[in-house]
């Protein structure tokens, strides 16, 4: 059998190959939103896009925060929050769940034990005294913050979401800060 290759067919094939190459090159680099990761075989979902959380600043740096929290010396982790309006409380409850649940899983997987967690309410974010065996994670509600960040200061980790007039934006900022903290603690890397 004789196959006749017409000029039109050649052009079509070339275009097809170019399209496939283009898709193969571009597709993996499209920054699709990431809401879940595979964590040691488990699907771990998050409340917001990890790509957005990736850029939240961590002070003094991610390595120091990681060593502070995922430290085999840690026996008890305190979550501190400042009671406020019902909405503020709701934010704190949701973020507390996210932190405790995912940190507990991370500890059990990577260190073989789960430290105890306790939740305290405070009237001020100042003067908190953490220890290497008992670090404190302080949830700074967006209503009291002008930045979205994770900041370690002498065994106290401050997670802050930037204030906004839009309540959804407020919550999203808080989510991003919490997710960034969890990304650091759980060593979740988003490449681009």
């Amino acid at each position: 059998m004789k196959i006749k290759i017409t000029r039109r067919r050649i052009i079509f094939l070339v275009l097809l190959i170019l399209s496939i190459l283009l898709i193969a090159t571009i597709f993996p680099n499209i920054p699709w939103p990431v809401y879940s990761v595979n964590y040691y075989g488990a699907t771990m979902g998050f409340r917001a896009n990890l790509r957005d959380a990736k850029n939240v600043p961590v002070y003094p740096n991610e390595e120091i925060v990681y060593r502070e929290i995922m430290n085999p010396l840690v026996e008890n982790i305190t979550i501190a929050f400042k009671p406020g309006t019902e909405q503020e409380n709701a934010y704190d409850a949701v973020e507390t769940f996210e932190i405790v649940n995912k940190l507990a899983i991370a500890f059990s997987k990577t260190l073989g034990y789960i430290p105890s967690f306790n939740v305290i309410n405070v009237t001020s974010y100042d003067g908190l005294q953490g220890k290497i065996r008992n670090p404190i994670i302080t949830l700074v509600n967006p209503n009291y913050s002008n930045e979205t960040s994770v900041r370690l200061d002498d065994h106290v980790i401050f997670i802050t979401g930037k204030n906004s007039t839009d309540s959804k934006e407020q919550l999203k900022n808080f989510d991003l800060a919490v997710i960034k903290f969890l990304m650091v603690a759980l060593e979740i890397r988003i490449n681009h």
Partner: protein, 787 residues
Amino acid sequence: MKEKLIAGLLAALTTLTTVYPVLAAGTLGDFPGLLGAPSEGFLVVVGAAAKPEDVVGAADIAMSLAVQSTTDKSVPGAAAAVTGLEYNTLDFNFGNLTDAFPDPIRSFHYSGLLQGTISWKSNTYDYHETINLSTAGSSNKQFFSHDFGTAGINGTEKMVLYSGRIGYEYVFDKQLNLSSATTAGTTGTLASPEYTYPVNVKLLGTTFQIVAVGSNQIKMLVGSSGTADATTPVVYGTYSVYATLGSNTAWSKVVVKDSAGNTVDSMVINQADSKDSSAAGLTIKVTAVRALQDGTIVGADLVVGPMGSVEKTYTTTCDVTGTGVNDLKFPGTSDWCIQVVGFATSGLISSGDKIQVVWKPTTSPQYFKAGEKLSLPNSYGDIGFEGWNYNTFATLTFTPKTGLSAYYLSAIGGSTNSSILASNLNGIEIASDVAGTILVEGTGYQKAYLLFGVENSTTNWLPVYVGVWDSVNSRMGVVYDAGHNGTYMKDIAKSSVNCTASPGGNCTFAYNFTISYGGGASTADQQYLYANVSVVQAASPIGETPVSIIRDFTLGTSANGNAIQLGYYNKTGTWSTTSPPDFRLYTSDSAEAKDIHIDSTDTSGTVNTQEVGVSTQDVVTDAGTILVNPSSNSAGQIVVIKVPAQALKVKAYIGKLGVAAGAQTYKEFTPVTVAIARLDTEVSATDKTKNLVVVGGPCVNSITAAALGLTFPACGAASGVPENAALIKVVKDYPATGKYTVVVAGWEATNTRTACAVIQQYATLLKGQTATAVKVTAATAAGITAV
């Protein structure tokens, strides 16, 4: 097509097996399994109008769910490892250390011992170190013993070490001519020590400087040695000694400072001379001075030690009692002293000359129990007694019993039926903590019996039964023999051949049990339990009443069958048609020395029989069995004996024993879909395809209201939540068919908080709960009631 059908069926089966447990679930006891683990995700929904208590509650639930996704795994511990030599084949009766260990121990046996070279005047000289087990040519063994008759051993296994036998040696392997240090060739002798070029050696890690040898003696400088200048001290204890000024090869000024830096003394000392510092209690010897023309010290070689003790002469013998210059103890010890072998030629160290550090305590011998060790100075090495070769034992307990019933046993290895063969039986129960250990006619049992019935009024036979425990029916059985002469039911007939003389003689009966750990010990490791019954004056065929009975159990190996003898006597003195004998140890109800006899090899190797019934510690016997707490058990007429699974040996080491790693438990993460928290206002249509945990009552959480079929907000009585309490409820088919919602709702926020605490303690408070809903008034078992 065919493949597609199979694949489709498999897929359907997989789906069914995944879904079925969820469909079957629905009680609180299934939480959190009913949340869809391991394959389905779920959400935790908090009301957008939350209280501070809800924040705490959220943490409780988060912890609970995290814990449920882990399982506790244990890691077994690891035995301590030995650096050096370790043997578990030593004879516990009278085994010498040298039966297993080489003598001497060299560096290739134990890496803590050194073999190498020292440098002296730019030349190198070979040496090696050893540990000796018979330093002075031992006439006394260094052995293991459990001799009951020796105070300090008392029946407990001990390592017995004698003074003067255990030692360390530093051996010169190459000739060193100390006299050649100077051109005159006269130094290095006892009369003219060589202080400028001493030979530095390290004995057991401590530095000594040999300055003279000859006439089977050596002279050494002892203490801290080193080079000092104005800023760098030689430190001894809490004192630092500086060399601040000097004249080359002539003298040095030394300054002594305390730990606070205060000068406590200063003095000028000529090279090769020493002076005492009373203020510091030190003697300082200057062996060499290197100084500039202006007196600046480049380096002064000093030896600093206890006053009057930095220069000592060691001979071929030593003890630990001398003081001052006669204090020959190794520095920092009280039981080790230094002596030498060789060093015959003045100024010459010959190959094979030895410096020995010998263990010479004033009290000898000394006894070391399992877990103890003799440590060389500076922890250079140990001679340690670790324990037994294997710590696997079956524990036999002998207990007098009364009023037992025996059931018919079909055969050894068979089971009993419900018919009673004999009742009102007294005797001894022999029970093992390891099933199958007591072999009766080759079959292993956990319990066996030697039992006695009342005298047969017709035949005057005195019945004796060998019973075994029927673990299936939980009763004791005996094989019936119609002729009363069978294997498992024995009679002592007054007129039978069991009686040695008639009338007036004794009648006897004997039976052999075999003790085999779990029924699986090799023949060489088995022990033999021999039951001997003797009825005194029971021989008359017509009517003479037997007045006493002696029961005698012996337990031992084939080589030593009488290592333990238990004397159970009939305490009533009668064996009649109405009364069987009743037993106790020896002649009283309290503990007596004669209750139990054992064979015990003494420290000269002679086997003695000892009465051990009132011993307050465990007693090892020559057969390798261990009599447990005789005094206490004898008082209760009980005997407890540990029988080794394998022939007993001792485990010991020479070298260093590491640290055993203990067993540990860790939490292993089971991959499940990890929950996400949502506000009720955030829950989307997609979210409603998942299982939910909703926190907060229908007054504050719209999803709770929807799950309970209420209109949001539903507060107070309309909420359906019990007043001043909380509700934990599983709602089926919400938010979608086949899905579940767990409602955690309180009357007030504090009640919700309490319910969350219950969830947090799921394993102890909710697991196994068969109800679909409970009322919670407190986070305790009593505070939870099904509704």
